[in-house]
């Protein structure tokens, strides 16, 4: 993988805030659901039996003769796992593998952004033998390079389903980089479960330019994940293909957003750093955005 330095430079200073308050955990940059004693004052609340007397604002008690305790919002880290689709449909176009390379760069760009925020970052991807290789979320130095090596060692091939991977991931935030041409329904179901459990799911839908605008000549298109599926793409079928593909992409976006996930479509050829910025933008959240 080349030009990673340029990509890391381009995403420096980019933050990826949590879409919602995160559960408690080590101190971090994301607003936590926990109220604690941090220096960032939020509000007063009447003292109730059981509260820690040390949190009583004694000066306010002296002035008002009422016992209040100070409340402050906690900040926590947000462990993130990036799930990368390494099925054979990602190895397209055949010679350049643009879809796979785009997915690799976006994964590394996101990893760099997460790491820069101080959050643990991990990755899950199928290796060349089809086994799931999971790198648990970590914050240590060099984790981005480690993630880059793991992704680089993967080879897009086979029919590796992503839903089991997503279901197995325990990180509160999951970024799924896929073309959705595999187990799309099961993946959406697993993502919905994750969202319902309080997690965040960001779907990065990789689409090749050649899929949006296939060659004008007559070709016998063969699905690399289903070799027996062969369809003739000629002038007479091109329009139907474009309409069906567009409708499917719109349906995917609608379903994922309705499930509470964010949905970003990235076309090969788009600068990876630009795509990363679009992904981490708060407005990228769908209809269920917090």
């Amino acid at each position: 993988m080349t030009n990673l330095g340029q990509l890391l430079d381009d995403v420096r200073g980019v933050h990826w805030p949590s879409r919602r308050a995160v559960a408690g955990g080590p101190a971090g940059t994301h607003q936590s659901k926990m109220r604690g004693t941090s220096a960032e004052f939020t509000e007063y609340r009447l003292y109730r039996q059981g509260d820690d007397p040390r949190r009583i604002d004694w000066k306010l008690l002296a002035r008002s003769d009422r016992a209040y305790i100070r409340l402050a919002t906690d900040r926590a880290v947000l462990p993130t796992t990036i799930v990368v689709d390494a099925s054979s449909s990602m190895a397209f176009p055949l010679l350049s593998n643009d879809k796979w390379h785009q997915a690799q760069r976006i994964a590394i760009g996101l990893a760099a952004v997460v790491h820069a925020d101080g959050d643990p970052i991990g990755v899950a991807v199928h290796d060349e033998r089809g086994n799931i290789r999971v790198l648990p979320p970590r914050t240590r130095r060099g984790v981005v390079s480690e993630i880059a090596r793991v992704i680089d060692s993967a080879d897009p091939d086979g029919l590796d389903p992503l839903a089991p991977v997503v279901a197995a991931v325990r990180s509160p935030r999951i970024a799924i980089i896929t073309d959705l041409l595999g187990d799309a329904e099961e993946l959406l179901r697993a993502a919905s479960v994750h969202v319902v459990g309080g997690g965040e799911v960001h779907l990065v839908h990789i689409v090749a330019r050649e899929e949006l605008d296939p060659p004008a000549r007559a070709i016998l298109a063969a699905d690399p994940e289903a070799p027996t599926l062969q369809r003739l793409l000629v002038d007479a079928t091109r329009r139907g293909y474009l309409e069906a593909f567009g409708a499917w992409r719109a349906a995917m976006a609608r379903q994922w957003r309705a499930a509470g996930a964010s949905y970003i479509e990235v076309v090969t050829g788009e600068a990876p750093s630009h795509a990363v910025r679009r992904i981490v933008e708060p407005r990228s959240m769908g209809g269920a955005r917090a």
């Binding site: 007559a218 016998l220 298109a221 699905d223 369809r231 003739l232 293909y241 593909f245």
Partner: protein
Amino acid sequence: MSWLLPSALAIGGIAAVVTVALHFIARSRPLAEPLPTARFIPQRPIHARTRSIALTDSTLLLVRVAALLVLAAAIAAPVFAAARNRVARVVVADRSRDVANIQEVRDTVRAVLRAGDVLVAFDSDAVTTALDSLKQVDTRGSLSAGLASAVRAGAALAPRADSVELIIVSALTAAEIDDATPRIRATWPGRARIVRVASTPATSAVPPRVTTSATTDDPVVAGLALLGVTGTGRVGSAEVRLVRGRVSVADSAWARDAGHVLIHWPADDDNALWPKRNSIDAIGAVASSGGVMVGRFPRLWVLSGRTVARWADGEPAAVEHATGAGCIRDVGVVFDPAGDATLRPAFRELVQPFLEPCGGATATAPLGADGLKALAGEGPLAAGDALRDRSSETSRWTPWLLFAGAGLLILELAMRRSSRTPA
């Protein structure tokens, strides 16, 4: 080298040209290319037409053209003729009763016949035979039958000879020539050598004497009386007895003698034991080689034998059966006793063949000079290639060429399949 079916070469050449032209318009299944989103393409038959101004798949084209040409050559059937450079002969020898002395025919044939030549002996029929088997038979001669057999024999000889000579050794009487003879002779593409042998003397022109027990009240007897042949005693070359009733044992015994002709001409249904027709009908005419008689004739019997006269629809009306050295003629033509049909000239012409000797009239006048000249023809001997019956010849190269063509087709199929496999 020659070809048994040269037109197949032309057809093969045209097919090859068409194949080359079709390579400019290639209708084929496009090459498969991976497209992960192929599932969104509407389904339709996997065929597309692609055009190119340049020859496509030149190797495949070569194999296809080669296969077509080899198969065309196999169908055209090449024949490599062995060294021949010689003249063969087909000798047509007359063995009919028209020949006066069969030994003369044998001597003549022996003088012209060479090893490898063909001898065709003919009478009313013709067979290919050996000289030692050439014997005379007591039947009429038909040169048409001999010539037809000679044409077939010439076709069989043609592959082994550059030229084939036709030699006719015959009495060549007018009776041996019929309407078909000139036409059959015309199918022999060359001149013929005519060797004429002596013919038997012509039958006496004096009509035979017809004896009968019937009276002149009988219409047939009355008609024959006008012909002047009824009476007693033998005057002509044959003796004829007319029986209008049933044939007796004495009549049958009489008919077995040489030169005796018994005409059984029943006056009515009760006087014959011949098989009767399923349904008796009437017919408008009866004909013999002597003439035709038109009238309303009841048809009572079904006759079989050598036909002497026929009804208008071709069914035998009078037949001849050989018995001993003589014969019996059954005539199924019934006349009304009250009518005068038998008194007309047509009746006398009709019955002439009934009065001839057994087997019909013997040799007639010899063929004239013009007939002989037409029979001999002009020009060179028949060329072997012109006589060959290519429909019955086979080529030993055809199976090998078919095998090679099949191999090329299999190769073409393999090449086509390999070109369809996506990279």
